[in-house]
Amino acid sequence: MSRLAVVGVGATGGALLAGLHALGATEPLRLIDPDRVERSNLPRQPWFEAADIGRPKAEVMAERLSHGYRGQVEPAVARLSEENCDQLLDEVALVFDGTDNWPVREAIQAWAARHQKAWIYMSVLGLSGMTALFRPGEGPCLYCLFGATIQQGPHCFEAGVLGPVAAAVAGEALDLYQRWGSGALEGFELRLIDGAGGRTEVIRGRDRGCTHFVSLR
């Protein structure tokens, strides 16, 4: 069974884990997050409780999953980086990006390109979100979509976020994962989650040839 990593177990990563649990998944999981539970996390990360404030998110989430999740769960209280990603993502088949940190996301993408592994991008801000499954060597990369010079955008502590929108993002990400796993995902899809309108828009991309990771192919 392929091991999955969830990097960031906050609003999107946590909802994704809740979804895997609810759907009866059995894949071994590695939960990677350096942060501790804060009071302001509680409205959009409802698997945490007030009694968890101050505890590492990865450990608390692993505890919650230990009640009923059918696969192995390993927490890692660490910030993923270019330097440690080969170690933290060892034996991982696919990464779910649940971080809101752009350099961490870039480290996941670079790891995926080096090891020819797929990864699933998730983001949420305000009432909107996005998700896409990236496959190195097939279709666009993050830089093709958003530009190679993009910097960190606004965080949720600057723009706000509504918790259930992150659940909708996680649901779409899980759908991409399941379709990828069964070989049914053809081509590239960027899914735009409209939390105000209650609907998902799918943007399909043609493979124009990614040039950002060409030397690694």
């Binding site: 409802p46 649901g171 939390g195 105000a196």
Partner: protein
């Protein structure tokens, strides 16, 4: 009601949203709803609504949809098996919170 510093900290990411704002958070903290639908999705929806400040009562209900009633309004979303159920839960929860925060369906 006015919100304590602790509540403002707790709900700050929602209060920051123009669609919710301080007044909307006050409305959420006074709102009461009933949630019905199949498990585990009903519990997850209830968790999200409670975490946002809403008082929630859970009821058994239809197995193919999630419904929320409160403040003279009713929201519902069909459920299909698989990850789409999580997506539906998310969209339904967002709609309920936005409407309650904006005072839709409530008096005053």
């Amino acid at each position: 009601m006015s919100l304590s510093d602790e509540l403002i900290d707790q709900y700050s990411r929602q209060i920051l949203l123009p669609e919710v704002d301080y007044q909307g958070q006050e409305r959420l903290l006074q709102a009461q709803v009933e949630v019905a639908g199949p498990e585990p999705w009903r519990s997850w929806l209830a968790r999200y609504l409670r975490a946002a400040g809403v008082a929630v009562r859970e009821l058994t209900g239809p197995t193919d949809q999630l419904t929320v009633e409160g403040g003279g309004r009713r929201w519902q979303r069909a459920l299909t098996p698989g990850p789409a159920a999580l997506t539906a839960l998310g969209y339904l929860g967002a709609a309920v919170l936005l409407d309650l925060a904006q005072g839709e369906g409530a008096q005053g």
